[in-house]
């Protein structure tokens, strides 16, 4: 009986990928304290496809930074795969970013000196993956985003759409719990935007959990759930 209960709890925790409870973030700018996030409760289950919307200054970026463990909340609790990560710091936080989170940025943020393959390899390096394994995963993920033949190119030899697909491959490399995309199509033309959103859709269909921060309805339309932020609160 007890065993069955434990298994049920474990399954629930697995489904319940992310649980924010009463999360606030206050920036102390000297004389004024800015409340960027105010008592946010949010639950994301495995396999969800969520768009976060809201005007600029609404706390979208702050929420994404906290979800992505680039920052920690001032108060409140953040359970990621059942682990309380809100109090993590330093090496532990870096490890969570490395294993559980894949970032996709508006500015792409590939390292310009490295080839596409080397960029994808980066999270694997920091995960201390052996060379043989790194090579396999880089080849696999580049294939997944349709860039098998572009691995040896530097970012400046690739188109904007291709660069962003390399960034997605990099985000996928360590098989993270969640992909966080911040305005992923913001610097792309509409054709590339459509291709990229299709790629994201297909990733979600394969079971990936996606969170996309955007202020474009055309992007948000792809998501299955839309969360709107206003003045640091969920609307």
């Amino acid at each position: 009986m007890a065993e069955r209960q434990e298994a049920a709890v474990a399954r629930a925790a697995l489904e319940r990928l992310i649980e924010l409870a009463g999360v606030s973030k206050v920036y102390d700018t000297g004389h004024v304290a800015v409340r960027a996030l105010d008592d946010v409760d949010l639950r994301l289950d495995a396999g969800e496809y969520v768009a976060i919307m809201g005007p600029s200054g609404s706390g979208k970026s702050t929420l994404m930074h906290i979800l992505g463990c680039l920052d920690t909340p001032t108060s409140g609790s953040y359970l990621l795969r059942g682990r309380e990560v809100s109090q993590y710091a330093g090496k532990k936080l870096a490890q969570v970013r490395n294993r559980e989170v894949g970032f996709v940025f508006q500015q792409f943020n590939l390292l310009p000196r490295l080839t596409a393959a080397e960029n994808v390899e980066l999270p694997l390096l920091y995960a201390r993956a052996p060379a043989e394994r790194r090579r396999e995963i880089v080849a696999d993920t580049l294939a997944k985003v349709g860039l098998s033949d572009r691995g040896h190119h530097k970012p400046n030899e690739l188109s904007g759409g291709e660069v962003q697909r390399v960034a997605i491959a990099r985000a996928l490399a360590n098989d993270p719990a969640i992909i966080l995309a911040d305005e992923p199509t913001g610097n792309l033309d509409s054709k590339s935007e459509e291709d990229l959103m299709q790629l994201l859709d297909s990733l979600n269909e394969m079971g990936r959990t996606l969170v996309v921060v955007t202020h474009e309805d055309s992007v948000a339309r792809h998501a299955k759930r839309v969360i709107t932020l206003r003045d640091g609160r969920l609307a």
Binding site: D71, A94, N109, L111, L125, R128, A129, R134
Partner: protein, 416 residues
């Protein structure tokens, strides 16, 4: 993964800024080159000096009018020293009677210039009046004939023992010098011995000497006066008995000469007792000064090189703020970033070190090739060069690396 991979990636990152990397490492290159080259030179100097000294008699004490010190320890008043009493053949005879002394040989010399004998010529010969036992004190071997004897001395014989250079140049091929005569300043001397070749000592040729009995010398030549007497007067070469330590013999000779010169207990010696050890110890002062200079020069250039590396690493950290942010976002820990930048600093300084080692060894080899100095850097200088340059990289790289790893990833990633 391992830090080795991070290090290798850091090393390869130098190629993106070849000129800058080169200029940055210049300070280290100069520092390490200086260390290696100077160590090579000093080692060469040591070796040369050791060789020179071994060609002299090792235990011989040189009694002279002045104390010999190589170096500039104190200003010498030659006027004062020239007023000291000359050493005499009688002093030598008295010293030779000491129980601790095996031989005490007076000697005095002068330049002869070019000697001729028929069609033959020998340049720059010197004439030395010497007593019995001069072969022992001067480390001479007489393979043909004999050296000057007491009998020669007592009878003021006009006999001579000649150096190999003199024998080679004044006598024809196959001509036996023994029993032949040499004319020196209008007097004829019978050659009674030919010395084995010795080579030069401290740059001075030794095989150009002609030895005659000191009494004969004093009969025909007057003693130098005034300042020349300081170096050109009679000196006495003293060889202690076997088993007797040099210092014991020195003490005995000193006591005897003070007595003979009538010195009071509060008066300083009016003669110099020079041993190889005393000359070596004054040489050692020069050596240690040279070493200090080297350590100073190398230290300063390594310091300057280190500051250069720190400067360029700070520039690099600023330029790559965004890269640091990205690396942190994909999971690099502070330690990973520290290792990356520290590796770059160490890579820069180590490359400088290796280039410096190569240049330093080349400088040593060059000196060996064009001068008689056998300059060669010992193996440990290579270890030293690598160690120092790596240490400079770590010491001056740690601050920029810590600065890089301490960056806030969110701000760093937004940095333009």
């Amino acid at each position: 993964m391992n830090y080795l991979t991070l290090f290798v990636r850091a090393v390869t990152s130098m190629r993106y800024n070849k000129m800058r990397s080169f200029l940055t490492t210049l300070g280290i290159i100069i520092g390490v080159t200086t260390i290696i080259a100077i160590v090579a030179l000093l080692k060469g100097l040591d070796r040369t000096i050791d060789q020179e000294f071994s060609s002299l008699g090792t235990k011989t004490i040189y009694v002279q009018k002045m104390e010999l010190e190589i170096g500039l320890r104190r200003h010498r008043n030659f006027e004062e020293i020239s007023k000291r009493p000359d050493l005499t053949v009688e002093d030598a005879a008295a010293i030779s009677k000491l129980a601790t002394v095996r031989a005490a040989v007076p000697n005095i010399h002068r330049d002869l210039g070019t000697l001729t004998r028929g069609v033959y010529e020998a340049d720059e010969c010197t004439l030395t009046g010497i007593g019995e036992g001069g072969d022992l004190t001067g480390n001479w071997v007489v393979p043909e004939g004999r050296f000057i004897t007491r009998y020669d001395q007592q009878h003021r014989n006009t006999v001579c023992v000649i150096g190999s250079y003199v024998a080679d140049n004044l006598f024809g091929l196959g001509e036996e010098p023994l029993g032949k005569t040499l004319e020196l300043d209008g007097r004829r001397y019978v050659v009674v011995g030919v010395l084995e070749e010795k080579g030069a000592s401290f740059g001075h040729p030794q095989d150009n000497q002609i030895f005659i009995p000191v009494e004969t010398y004093l009969k025909y030549y007057s003693l130098p006066e005034g300042r020349t007497s300081v170096f050109r007067g009679i000196r006495i070469e003293v060889l202690p008995e076997e088993e007797v330590p040099v210092e014991t013999a020195v003490a005995d000779v000193e006591e005897l000469l003070r007595l003979r010169h009538g010195l009071r207990y509060y008066e300083d010696n009016d003669f110099g007792l020079n041993t190889q050890e005393s000359m070596l110890s004054s040489l050692n002062t020069i050596r240690s000064v040279l070493w200090l200079v080297m350590v100073g020069v190398a230290g300063i250039s390594l310091l300057v090189g280190g500051i250069g590396i720190m400067n360029i690493m700070l520039v690099s950290v600023a330029e790559r703020t965004r890269e640091i942010g990205i690396r942190k976002a994909v999971g690099a820990s502070d330690a990973d970033i520290t290792v990356q930048f520290l590796s770059e600093a160490v890579a820069l300084s180590s490359v400088g070190g290796v280039v410096g080692i190569v240049l330093g060894l080349a400088a040593g080899a060059f000196v060996s090739a064009v001068t008689p100095l056998q300059a060669a850097a010992p193996w440990w200088t290579v270890v030293l060069g690598v160690g120092f340059s790596a240490a400079v990289g770590i010491i001056f790289g740690i601050y920029p690396a810590r600065k890089a790893s301490g960056l806030n990833p969110i701000e760093a990633i937004r940095y333009e």
